[in-house]
Subunit: 554 residues, 2 copies
């Protein structure tokens, strides 16, 4: 669709922000209830060629939202419920900005939708695992991605006036899908009857008032006069369900302070080097240099410098940058360096204090960062070499890889380690541990490798099926070089499709349905002339021209 | 991708055939073991512009395969296992014909893959529910769709010679996916480890011998000298697991003898009329005109004229023709006419004799025909009018519809009926009954409507949630007309994506993963220039030119 794409991604995008820099959201606090208010600045889009009118959003708006949710979890343990609302009159949110979408490359659209889906899932993760509940207080029109944001909340309250409705107008107005989880959440999460969802998905003006409640699209409608009070009352009730600490300080998430050069990003415990000609990046994570803090008090004092949090915040940032800023990098070589014993020690600390709120947050954060790896359209190869630190939590990276190569040289000891943290702390989007996905259908083998005491050397790891190949020192260089080179020769699209299928064996969840089924269909539609062609609805919307559709049903 | 598509579908395709007309398969019998041998005639493709070399296939080859599997179930109850093999030397099957794919429109490729997937799932359905087991006897090279056919069998035996391998070369050679279920079946069904599947999916030459067994790609390899004997022995063992009758005659599936005109296809109990200008078809199914046969003996004697089998064979054919021959028809209006009491009586017969082999076959066939409706890229609206026969099994059609409209006119009685056949006989691809999918998350409502004695009038049906809308006689004409017209104004692609998401609420299965996740990614790739562009791999394969890929990872 080259002719319809007028712009590739612009200057490198940063995913780091903090409330003092928010342009689009306001975060306020009132005891256990925080309020996150959308107030999008029209002229503060990531790119200058569209205006973010009517609280419509682009990636920059969602980066702030993701940051706010993250900070609420770490910096504000005393917050137990969040009201998500808008500061604009009569408008909650108009959804993703159409003019931004119109001007975006296919890759940008896909990455944008992926990130917004991850942000919404992070809200549901906070509700499910962190006792942080969300209430969407829809004070006005709530359309498209705006309603998808509301769907990610635990409850939805809509103001009852002549104006305010919820809607998914993507299909009738733009010829695309409500692709930020919308269709899946309507039927799978809110359990709206499929025929009513079909009607809802085709009427641009949406549904309001009593009917919105009857169909299950919102939980309640409340007249404007009682809206604020009703919202607060419900938010307080949600807060009452929380198991977060009632008081106590949180942990500030400081800047990552990465050092950037033309072909590298160096963090404290992660480094990313880019070989753009070869279309390969090398991502190295490092074990702690010293024993990690071992008590809740010490972990709290260490804060964002506590190694497990620090290394995975850096990893998460590196993955996001790779996705959006390095579209032509096809393969990421994963390495882990340093003292495996220190990683295993960190795992013991995480396991011992699993019920401490901050450790719980850290563990779930690591889980989400690892999911980003699973969901990235890059090939991951783990190279396991002498001195590696693929142990326990870091071994999840090797297990997340599409393939792993482990040097088998008797002269240079080389081992990987599992820990109890591999047994359930970091489920994939499909609900399986990476070991269970690896040995899908043979749970005995999962139990066996978890029961194995001590390290696996290369021969043992290959025998146990924990690594793909274990070449000896004679073959190693050629084999890993060829693996990377031959990967780069394959079609990037076919690889994305293949990996998206092979990585998610077994059961599917709301989350995998969003990324597998819904996103895959949306990506298809994002290629179709009926949406993105010169006469397609994304191009003609707002121009006065009507779209001219190819009528073939495919 | 208009520029890359040189041909739309040709003359109307017929899905009817019989063994006397097979050009590509031979069906032979030896007691409980049948042999289905692929011997594709190069010059007998559906279209003249490609040669079906090396047992490669097109839709015509798969139509014969689907027919053979169907006939084995109905006409040969004495067959308990089927050997699937090839009559070509050193070649089992080279997969879907690349030159056919190259010359096909996007819509054709998508429909081709959908049908082949349904055929393979029909084999697995026969194994799971009908005691008919399949053994793939790979007597030579087995590539791509050939291996996907093997994967659909219960067991795979590969000849052990210097030549024969199994492979999925789509990604490395053609920049597309093994999209006839391949990727899903490799990891989900055969439980090949995901990293080994990744390797397998990228090496064009495939895997043979001991490694193929170790990786789980085949169940055994056997030297050529012992191949036939080993295959027969395994087939006999599979046959021994069957619960089909040991002897007895089957039921011949005669021709459907539809009467065709320019804008209608009229069968005995189904009629399809086409309004091509309005892009809408009306599909009418008719209740039995007389009481159906009520004993196993009478059902066997009635054979393919037994109403439940007859009406759903006709429906299945009509749906297939609509998909392939009427790509611009967007909406199908479903109607059921005749005496609902006779449908309910037929349901009582089916339920009473559920364990009789022929009734079992008929029930599973109805299930598969209904699944084709769910999986069709057409909008289905059920219109429920006075005199309708949406009862029990036929009511599944109303429940399969994206929406249903029921006339509520107290002067003209109008009712729908459920029967015990709505409680589990016809699960969707996701394993749920249509009622359970409709009331997803509220199983009590399923129990409630099933417990309801007697008919639901329009008000009751709307109240119970069994129909979408129940307009009165004043609104009816306008409302249904507007529903159809406004549907036709929407983007066909967006509708396909929306319906594919809303229809399959809840759990996913191997089957829904194939149609939802794998097919959706394949459809995306089938639009991508890296596959179908002038420099894409599907275009350059076999030309001596190398593909030139856009390197962006999306």
């Amino acid at each position: 669709m080259g002719t319809t794409e007028t712009r590739t991604s612009s200057a490198a995008i940063s995913f780091e922000t903090d409330p003092s820099r928010y342009r689009h959201w306001k975060l306020t606090f009132d005891g256990p209830v925080a309020t996150l208010s959308m107030d999008v600045r029209e002229d503060a889009g990531l790119l200058p060629d569209y205006k973010l009118k009517l609280n419509s959003y682009d990636l920059g708006v969602d980066i702030e939202l993701a940051d706010a949710i993250q900070r609420l979890r770490f910096e504000h343990p005393e917050v137990h419920a969040v009201i998500v609302t808008s500061l604009k009159e009569r408008i909650f949110c108009a959804g993703a900005n159409i003019f931004m979408l119109r001007g975006s490359t296919h890759a940008w659209k896909v990455n944008f939708c992926k990130f917004t889906n991850e942000t919404r899932l992070a809200m549901e993760d906070a509700s499910a695992h962190s006792g942080l509940k969300f209430l969407a207080a829809l004070n006005g029109i709530c359309a498209g991605g705006g309603y998808e944001l509301a769907l990610a909340c635990d409850e939805i309250v809509l103001v009852d006036d002549a104006n305010s409705a919820v809607s998914l107008p993507e299909t009738p107005l733009l010829a695309v899908l409500p692709g930020t989880g919308g269709l899946t959440r309507v039927v799978d999460k809110r359990k709206v009857r499929r025929d009513l969802a079909d009607v809802f998905g085709t009427i641009a003006e949406g549904v309001k008032g009593k009917r919105a409640v009857e169909w299950g699209l919102v939980d309640a409608t409340v007249p404007a006069s009682r809206f604020k009070a009703a919202v607060l009352e419900r938010a307080q009730a949600l807060a009452g369900q929380s198991d977060r600490p009632a008081t106590g300080r949180g942990v500030t998430l400081g800047p990552l302070n990465a050092r950037e050069s033309a072909d590298a990003i160096v963090y404290s415990a992660v480094s990313l080097s880019l070989d753009r000609a070869g279309r390969v990046a090398t991502l190295v994570v490092r074990a702690p240099d010293a024993p990690v803090e071992a008590t809740p008090e010490a972990i709290l004092a260490a804060g964002d410098q506590f190694w497990p949090l620090r290394v995975f915040r850096e990893l998460d940032d590196a993955i996001l940058r790779l996705r959006v800023n390095e579209p032509e990098i096809g393969t990421v070589v994963l390495k882990a360096e340093g003292d495996a014993a220190r990683v295993l020690e960190a795992d013991r600390v995480l396991a011992a204090h699993a019920s401490y709120w901050l450790v719980r947050e850290i563990t779930h954060f690591i889980k989400r960062a690892l999911k980003r790896v699973d969901l990235s359209a890059k090939t991951f190869f783990a190279f396991v070499e002498p001195g590696n630190a693929f142990a326990g939590t870091l071994c999840e990276l090797a297990l997340a890889a599409d393939r792993s190569y482990m040097l088998n040289d008797p002269e240079r000891p080389n081992a990987i380690h599992l820990s109890p943290m591999n047994a359930g702390a970091y489920p994939m989007s499909n609900g399986l541990t990476r070991l269970a996905a690896r040995f899908y259908g043979t749970p005995d083998r999962v139990a066996e490798v978890l029961a194995h005491a001590g390290p696996f050397d290369a021969a043992e790891a290959a025998e146990a099926g924990l690594v793909t190949f274990a070449p000896d020192e004679i073959d190693w260089d050629d084999e890993v070089r060829l693996a990377v080179e031959s990967r780069a020769a394959l079609s990037p699209d076919a690889l994305t499709g293949m990996e998206a299928n092979l990585r998610f064996v077994g059961p599917e969840t709301l989350e995998t349905k969003i990324f597998g089924r819904l996103s895959a269909w949306q990506n298809w539609i994002f290629q179709r002339p009926n949406a993105v062609g010169e006469d397609g609805a994304l191009k003609t919307y707002g121009t006065g021209r009507r779209p001219n559709f190819d009528k073939t049903r495919v």
